[in-house]
Point group: C2
Chain length 228, copies 2
């Protein structure tokens, strides 16, 4: 393995959709931040009431999950060693590119502000020739064609049972492996994502938080490669 | 090993100290939340200017680090299997007890509100006979006397170099191991904490974020025990 390609999939990271711009909780939280409703991130901790009627609401409005998973991936030994490519796919189908050198805000509220800028401007810093985060001009399927992973492992409770260490050995033996972790709270992967996987695996008898799954896979691969 | 005792040490988790109650950024953030300056958590993302004169400021005002490390520990396979005892020691010397069953808020702002309540009331929920989080009536040294770990491993960049997998084997072979992870951004452990350790170990050539170190140790121990 030269690099591990990590895809955080269907992250609940999107601007408030137009259908609930008029809801009082949305209007209030936008006003408080001096922004328009369409310029702020959907966040279940603020917009719970407004989200009641939204389709797939259990998969949406969770910037915290993507935040944690990205911080873990960017701080991992694999990334520090230049052996990680990180991509974020959002619930609404965007692809976010991530520089391995970005120092993501540790503070949640600052992360939210950064992603709002990213989704509005298309990149951060805006107008930079070498941005730290950017919205890709292609779809997930197009990304996979470009990257052409030798094997795609998708983590799901419904997958075949494989310990993290055993999965790591399989990943490490691939020339260009991709691991897909669902970055949402509850519910299943969409068919669109599921059908991309060569193998669906479960690394635990428990339903794991996305960040725990991310950390376990990265750590196990690092151990399999004796990274220090 | 029956249980792993995990100590998150010197966490930057404290109410704003009296010496900066009068600072404009502190007063403003307290007012915004409808609280007194002494009732809100010190947070470098809000109180950076006010913290300039504070002693050890690089170790303080980082609730996000404790939040993230606690979420990783509570969601780990070790905790799910009933094999983890988690303690949080704060910069100002408090000991926080944590129920293995607490479902910690995922959202940072809600976590902050919960810890403010904890530090004010001594427990959450207040007046509960079986709280989810509580301030212990004893010191770190008294805790260690009660727990009596068979061996205390402290993670530090300055420690002896040991891969995570090798450290995990050593931890797993102890009857009552304790692992200490520093829950601060930069700077060294205090002498008080350092001298408690039987062994100071480094699991990476890089300075790791506290959450990456926490995740790596827990994952490696889980793999050493074949937890699934």
């Amino acid at each position: 393995v030269e690099k591990l390609h990590l895809l955080l999939a269907e992250a609940g990271l999107e601007l408030v959709p137009a259908e609930i711009w008029g809801h009082p909780t949305v209007a209030a939280s936008a006003r408080k931040r001096g922004k328009e409703p369409g310029e702020i991130l959907l966040d279940v901790s603020l917009h719970y009431a407004a989200m009641k009627g939204l389709k797939d609401r259990m998969k949406r409005g969770r910037p915290d999950i993507a935040h944690f998973c990205m911080l873990l991936a960017l701080g991992s030994l694999l990334n520090r060693a230049g052996m990680l490519e990180l991509y974020v796919n959002t619930y609404d189908g965007r692809m976010i590119g991530v520089s391995p050198h970005v120092r993501l805000p540790r503070n949640y509220n600052r992360f939210v502000g950064l992603v709002e800028q990213l989704l509005k401007e298309g990149r951060v810093p805006p107008n930079s020739a070498s941005p730290l985060l950017w919205v890709e001009p292609y779809s997930l399927e197009e990304l996979l064609e470009r990257v052409a992973p030798s094997r795609i492992f998708l983590l799901s409770e419904k997958g075949g049972k494989v310990g993290a260490a055993e999965l790591a050995r399989r990943v490490a033996s691939e020339p260009k492996p991709m691991v897909v972790v669902g970055c949402f709270q509850a519910g299943d992967f969409s068919e669109r994502i599921l059908k991309l996987a060569h193998e669906v695996v479960s690394i635990s008898q428990y339903a794991l938080d996305a960040w725990v799954a991310t950390a376990k896979v990265l750590s196990a691969v690092e151990d399999a490669l004796n990274l220090f």
